[in-house]
Subunit: 463 residues, 2 copies
């Protein structure tokens, strides 16, 4: 661990936040945690307010002004601690062992928040006086339940405002300690197909005459893609944005091997055509379809020769810019109808999370890369897109922000699981790195101010 | 109810048998019930023995000799009484209400057995003296658990014996009171396809690279048939025996309408190409495939975007003569391999129940039709095959018997369900009808004996 004056205070703050079981799924201790976050931001010099959410309130801190607006996004709510019996530590007390802190939220996202906040204080020690850019700190209380009121809140609270950069709630550190800068997230669309062919389950002998809902669902599901994972829904790929040259260069040089991914996941069967050369391209830029689960009929031990009366299959699609989940729902309905599956009901569980992708050669990404490498002592990875999804789209759509994720969620952090943890050394490094990033943002802002008309800079040009 | 001297004794015997909870699934009271059956057969004049089975013993009674051997097959074991709370009567006491008897086994199969036994006594009153044919009465104690030791028992006990006719354990009475003579049963093959593509469930974002076991199972399942229910496994139909002219004539004149079947089952979706003209043909002569259930991944409320590590689908095939379930298993494995599903494991739950079909114009079928019509006052239906299955094949294979089902299982009998029941009037009629059938068999046997070489009669010719 780096010696650092700011560490004892940061540790104590994180310990206090972890001790508040702010489980949004149960609506628990959200106001109490929001008030603790507000007090921290007030103490750190921010104009701070608490704004109502649907389940838990939002905390907003603002400071500074200038030609550049940066938003830091975090959340103070956490996942439930279940199953408690699998924890080796009390979930809501921060424990230390072998260079790690353990506890629910110690990484996701209270640890990310506190490392940045301590970095802010270090930066202010080194750079007191007026902040030459506008910094908005938004701390969500509903992230773990899908941020149901975020979009409406951003529209209401930030009407007409523009944000240049949104520093996303987390970033990753890979297994060998290399920081990963996430420049995008896939969208997601989660649906359920249901079919009912009879009032109740029937004797399977009647399958000579009557159709079988599970066969119909299997046939419909099979029709959606091929062995290579290519999705066969007409028009599905029409809106896919071509990756930029620099994105493609990054994807052509995977920071880890396919073998290591196979080893880490235990996955045994690649899609047809996926190989060591192209897998990272698929992870960054390819949409995909997943069958999440089937239900209906008999799924117990042995055989029961029943003709089910109804069935269902859950499917998700991971989408890439500029696919719109709502539009994909319409394409899927059209596909089912054209293929003779008009009887299959289409239920939409989620069609709100649109994909986003910032430019990997944005100056902030390049600055962050340089500073992460300096503070973590390893080459940083710029990843064009996470293969996973985040509710980042409202920040892009409402505020025009570029979303960039950098932080200290390491690959053994056990997010959402028992023994969630953070590596103390990485936490300490991120305090210093955050201070350096904020200092660099100040320099950028001062230079932008020095120019006559900084708003007309072409996209991606260094201000 | 017909007035009948044999009724009080038959009612009392059935009441005593129903009071013995001979549930083979729990291995309960099987010996006690076998002994009660043995006592009844001994009292009725049979040479009787109890032979060990795997779970419950077999009871065998024999009497008579001659050029004709007839076997009556019944079983004394019953299905469990669960769910008890849905019964309106105590399951193991015979209750009477509105012309019906209620209780577990009152129809399946203790009621069928006692009606025939009382018929035997009536016949013997009318026709004392030596029985001019050989009658074997076999009462199984394991039918409700799939008769696991029946095949081996028949081989052991009846080595080298030939049986002309096996009077099957039940027959049906339709909703309008017409007796149905069942001349065959479909076979059944029940399998499970399993696929595993990873050690555990993965984050569904990895679906861009790794395959999905539920998609693979859906694609494999979809490949097995088309929209019309036609099975696409190569060679599947090769062994299908062409129905005889009389079978086809019977199937062309359905005894009930497609509308009434739709009404009774609540099934809403016919297979492509099935209509009012051909549905009865499919029920009698077409094999079919059923998806019984899928498992794997998430099947709860709402969405969970998981990439399952493994999955399974249960499928049964109803088979027709002369398809062999074991051979169909091999064809199915070949189909999966040829279609790129070598990774899918094929687990066989049941491949023992082969299809059987007697000739609908056999003299015994014609005799039974005439006598059922005389005693039930309605035209009888000769049904070439039940759409369901029975473990009838060992009787055909070991003993060369023609299987014919006639009895009093009416369409509201609630077999295997709460409130199992039998219509008392039909029970009484079956006593008289059974006596008449046995008398007719005696006449046939006497005529056969009168000929020099009755064994050389062409198949189906009236002896």
């Amino acid at each position: 661990m780096l010696p650092h004056d700011h560490m004892p205070k940061a540790r104590e703050e994180l310990r206090r936040l972890v001790a508040i079981p702010s489980v949004s799924a149960r609506g628990e201790k959200l106001v109490e945690c929001a008030e603790a976050v507000r007090d921290l931001l007030v103490e750190a010099g921010f104009n701070t307010e608490i704004q109502p959410g649907e389940v838990g309130p939002f905390v907003v801190g603002e400071i500074g002004s200038g030609p550049l607006t940066v938003m830091i996004y975090n959340h103070y709510d956490v996942q439930p601690e279940d199953p408690v019996s699998l924890w080796h530590f009390p979930p809501f007390e921060m424990s230390e062992r072998d260079g790690r802190w353990y506890g629910r939220g110690v990484a996701d996202d209270k640890g990310e928040f506190i490392s940045r906040l301590a970095g802010w204080r270090l930066f202010r020690e080194q750079h007191p006086g007026p902040l030459p850019f506008k910094l908005i700190w938004l701390v969500d209380g509903e992230e773990e339940i899908g941020s149901p009121s975020l979009e409406a809140f951003l529209k209401r609270r930030f009407e007409g405002e523009a944000v240049d950069i949104c520093w996303w709630e987390y970033g990753e550190i890979d297994a060998s300690g290399r920081p990963i800068i996430l420049c995008g997230f896939k969208g997601v669309m989660a649906v359920e197909l249901r079919d009912r062919t009879a009032r109740a389950d029937l004797h399977s002998s009647l399958g000579a005459v009557f159709d079988n809902p599970l066969w119909r669902l299997a046939a419909a599901t099979a029709s959606l893609r091929d062995n290579s994972g290519r999705i066969l829904v007409e028009g599905f790929y029409d809106a896919v944005r071509q990756a930029s040259l620099s994105d493609r260069e990054l994807a052509a040089a995977p920071p880890y091997s396919l073998d290591s991914l196979v080893e880490a996941t235990g996955a045994q069967r690649l899609l047809d055509g996926v190989d060591a050369e192209n897998f990272y391209n698929a992870i960054n830029f390819e949409p995909c379809m997943n069958v999440n689960g089937f239900s209906g009929g008999y799924a117990g031990e042995g055989a029961k020769t029943v003709l089910p009366g109804e069935g269902a299959v859950k499917i998700d699609f991971r989408l890439v810019p500029d696919q719109d989940p709502q539009h994909i729902v319409a394409l899927l309905r059209g596909h089912l109808d054209r293929h003779g599956f008009e009887d299959i009901e289409l239920i939409v569980h989620d069609a709100n999370v649109k994909p986003v992708r910032a430019s990997t050669d944005h100056w902030f990404v390049q600055d962050a890369k340089e500073l992460l490498e300096a503070h973590f002592g390893k080459s940083a990875i710029v990843q064009p897109s996470s293969p996973a999804s985040g509710t980042a789209y409202p920040f892009v759509e409402q505020l025009g922000a570029e979303i960039v994720g950098l932080g200290i969620t390491h690959h053994g952090a056990m997010l959402h699981s028992p023994d969630e943890n953070i590596i103390i050394d990485q936490f300490a490094r991120m305090i210093e790195c955050s201070a350096a990033i904020l200092a660099r943002l100040s320099q950028r802002a001062i230079r932008m101010k020095g120019r006559s008309n900084p708003e007309q800079l072409p996209d991606g040009e260094t201000p």
